[in-house]
């Protein structure tokens, strides 16, 4: 008896050792590579666009030294740096929001969009652009000639409207989520609500005049260029808050991997964890929509890409991983949208779909198993 037990132990030992250290090297390598890619993406975004600023000049400007041409300093510091910060914040926010949503709903298709937060923000934006036209009048009608006051007002109004819309829907969905225990139903309610709000927005757009419609449609394209230095603190605070919550809830998200019943049996206060996580995801998504418009695809794709890179389901890896991956991917999409060396600028949403789509497609095909019904 003893000898057979020993034999079993001998057979088990190497596998346990392998399992304990499994993936450690991969995690280290992946984090190092992601950080390198992120830095590269930042530098590329700063130097490479419609106007090419040499790398060494970018470095000089960032270090506060005078550049060869003054225009370059303005371009890098006042136009590109806010854009880089915006893209980074958008990527971090959507990566984390998507990860949180997928963990809470235990569904690979969950994203900030499915909860209706983005449609809520759209409605808010539509109301500001179309119903309160006083705020936006003159903004796009004659381009650069628009008065600075109107522009400032309109951007504040847009941010406010979108955030309010996202917040109202968030509250509604949190109330729903606390009443309805079945998360699949909550997810589907979010989808239905999104469609409903979409219809309201359609009605608003239908009665709007062409100029307002155009403003709204352009808002819907998404852009990393709307954020000015003055907006950065608020945007960064919102994303920072969500990031802190995500970091503090890594253990809870791991417990939720096995489903709510198991999570509860291990001592997790499921309702509190769920509320906290959904609140954080909504703040993240709401901030993105308010400052950059309804950026498509990243929320759903980035967590999957991150899982593929790290080959892990551990949220202690996936939370920082998704933030890093999200930032790099968003910067990449921004670069693509800029169409370097041309005067053309694509909508960011087109770029995120072009980049995110095929990657998500590939990752999902590779996943096949693992999200049992």
């Amino acid at each position: 008896m003893t000898s057979s037990t020993d034999a079993v132990s001998l057979r088990q030992r190497p596998n346990i050792e392998t399992a304990r250290t499994r993936g450690r090297t991969r995690t280290l390598v992946a984090f190092s590579l992601l950080i390198a890619v992120f830095i590269l993406a930042v530098l590329l975004s700063l130097s490479w666009s419609s106007v090419r600023v040499p790398w060494d000049e970018v470095a000089r400007i960032l270090l506060g030294r005078p550049a060869e041409r003054d225009a370059w300093t303005t371009i890098v510091l006042d136009i590109r740096l806010p854009r880089v910060i915006t893209a980074t914040l958008v990527g971090v926010a959507l990566g984390l929001a998507g990860l949180q949503m997928q963990a809470v709903f235990r569904n690979p298709l969950a994203s900030p969009y499915t909860l209706g937060v983005v449609s809520g923000a759209s409605l808010g934006a539509a109301l500001v652009i179309i119903v309160l036209p006083g705020l936006t009048v003159g903004l796009y009608r004659d381009g650069a000639a628009a008065s600075g006051v109107a522009q400032a007002l309109s951007s504040v109004g847009l941010v406010f409207g979108a955030a309010l819309g996202a917040g109202v829907i968030l509250l509604a969905m949190l109330v729903v989520a606390s009443i309805v225990r079945d998360m699949v139903i909550v997810l589907l309610l979010g989808v239905v609500l999104s469609a409903l709000i979409g219809a309201l927005v359609t009605v608003l757009v239908f009665f709007a005049d062409p100029n307002q419609t155009r403003v709204f449609v352009e808002w819907g394209f998404g852009s990393f260029q709307r954020v000015r230095w003055g907006d950065v603190p608020l945007f960064a605070t919102a994303v920072g808050t969500g990031t802190v919550v995500a970091t503090l809830s890594m253990k809870q998200l791991n417990a939720l991997l096995m489903g709510e019943n198991y999570a509860r049996s291990m001592g997790l206060n499921v309702r509190r964890a769920r509320t906290l996580t959904l609140t954080s995801a909504s703040i993240l998504a709401g901030a993105v929509v308010a400052f950059a418009g309804p950026i498509a695809f990243l929320g759903i794709a980035i967590p999957h890409i991150t899982r593929g890179i790290f080959g892990s389901a551990d949220h202690r890896i996936l939370v920082p991983g998704s933030a890093l991956t999200g930032a790099s991917v968003a910067l990449g999409c921004g670069l693509l949208a800029e169409m370097p060396n041309s005067n053309l600028t694509l909508p960011v949403n087109a770029a995120t779909a072009i980049v995110g789509g095929p990657i998500a497609f590939w990752v999902l095909l590779r996943m096949r198993r693992g999200w049992g019904s």
Partner: protein, 361 residues
């Protein structure tokens, strides 16, 4: 060895669920206890309240009345983390997580013991290894949980529950999707864990045979909504088991502890002999709805058919014989025999006993 002490005890417990704001009581006046080292099986017909009881014991839903005491303290007074350190569960929820190794899954069981970020320290790793070795799943540690077979996954899920270092382990139909050898293996494993680690284990099951053969204690939910407990053999002898499961379609054989289809009225067969062949001949006849006897007395109306095994060794052809109304028939296999018997029945479903031999179909 320390004297057994109840680690889980229920007194005057009333449980049920709420449907449309109305209480539906499923079980009431439940008073029963489980000792350290005991392996108990919770049995009962579908819908009798097995899951409700398990959910109440793991505090997923509240009880209506009475108390549950867990390791000396009242269940309702425990914090959720304290509860998780005393009681672990294996549920029927399907756990399929991509990119998660069995080792990591077992590690999730450390949740109530780790700090804010869930970092596993050296002691946690020792416990995980112990849990995996105790469930003989150590060789699966490096595998993805999605690659495991049902039996392997169930062992890993038990290891995960053990990693919580509980005093009480509750399992909801852990053998449901397993093949027979895995079911026996798993039950033996649970029994050993209870005995060797001093765990109190309660599992629900539909597998009466297995429960009768392996459980220290049976908790039996009867149709009138009460819970009886006792050693399996006692429950057989006092007829409680029979009462709980028998119906017009199945009869419980107290001698073997098996359920068999109730014999058709008037179908009687006589078999004498003790060999292995005779045993399985009886089984075949029972399956075909015969009341199998050894004695010769008929009920007057209808004499039993007589069946047997030819003794000629070496020739498997025409091994089985049946005598009805003084005519003997021989069959190569029990399949042929039972087929012929049921043909006899359907030819003349309500007719009086045949007076002359019929040609075989």
């Amino acid at each position: 060895m320390a004297p057994p002490e109840p680690v889980l005890s229920l007194s005057s417990l009333e449980i049920g669920y709420r449907a449309r704001r109305r209480r539906r009581v499923v079980l009431s006046e439940v008073s029963v206890a489980l000792d350290r080292g005991e392996f108990a099986c919770l049995l009962g017909p579908n819908g009798a309240g097995k899951s409700t009881l398990l959910r109440t014991l793991s505090r997923v839903q509240p009880s209506f009345a009475g108390t549950v005491s867990l390791d000396g303290d009242e269940l309702d007074g425990l914090t959720s983390e304290d509860l998780a350190r005393r009681l672990a569960v294996v549920l029927t929820d399907r756990v399929q997580i991509a990119n998660l190794s069995a080792y990591e899954l077992v590690g999730l069981g450390r949740f109530p013991h780790t700090g804010y970020f869930g970092r596993l320290g050296p002691e946690d790793h020792t416990t995980i290894e112990w849990a995996m070795e105790a469930t003989q799943s150590g060789h699966l540690a490096h595998r993805d949980v999605t690659e495991l077979s049902d039996g392997e996954r169930q062992r890993v899920m038990i290891a995960r529950a053990l990693a919580q270092e509980p005093k009480v382990l509750l399992l909801d139909e852990p053998t449901a999707f397993l093949d027979l050898p895995s079911r026996i293996e798993l039950t033996a494993l649970l029994r050993r864990l209870a005995a060797e680690r001093g765990l109190a284990i309660l599992m629900t099951t539909h597998d009466l045979d297995l429960a009768l053969r392996t459980a220290d204690v049976l908790w039996l939910i009867t149709e009138d909504g009460s819970l009886e407990s006792g050693a399996p053999e006692d429950l057989v002898l006092n007829g409680l088991l029979e009462h709980a499961f028998s119906s017009s379609e199945v009869a419980f054989d107290r001698a073997t502890g098996h359920f068999t289809p109730t014999p058709h009225p008037g179908r009687r067969a006589r078999v004498t002999g003790d060999s292995l062949e005779h045993h399985w001949l009886r089984q075949a006849l029972l399956r075909s709805g015969f009341d199998v006897t050894e004695d010769e007395s008929g009920d007057g109306e209808r004499k039993p058919i007589v069946c047997g095994v030819t003794s000629e060794a070496g020739d498997p052809v025409d091994r089985w014989w049946v005598t009805t109304n003084n005519e003997e028939r021989r069959f190569t296999s029990l399949a042929d025999l039972t087929r012929w018997l049921s043909g006899q029945e359907s030819d003349a479903p309500h007719a009086p006993p045949a007076t002359e031999a019929r040609p075989a179909p």
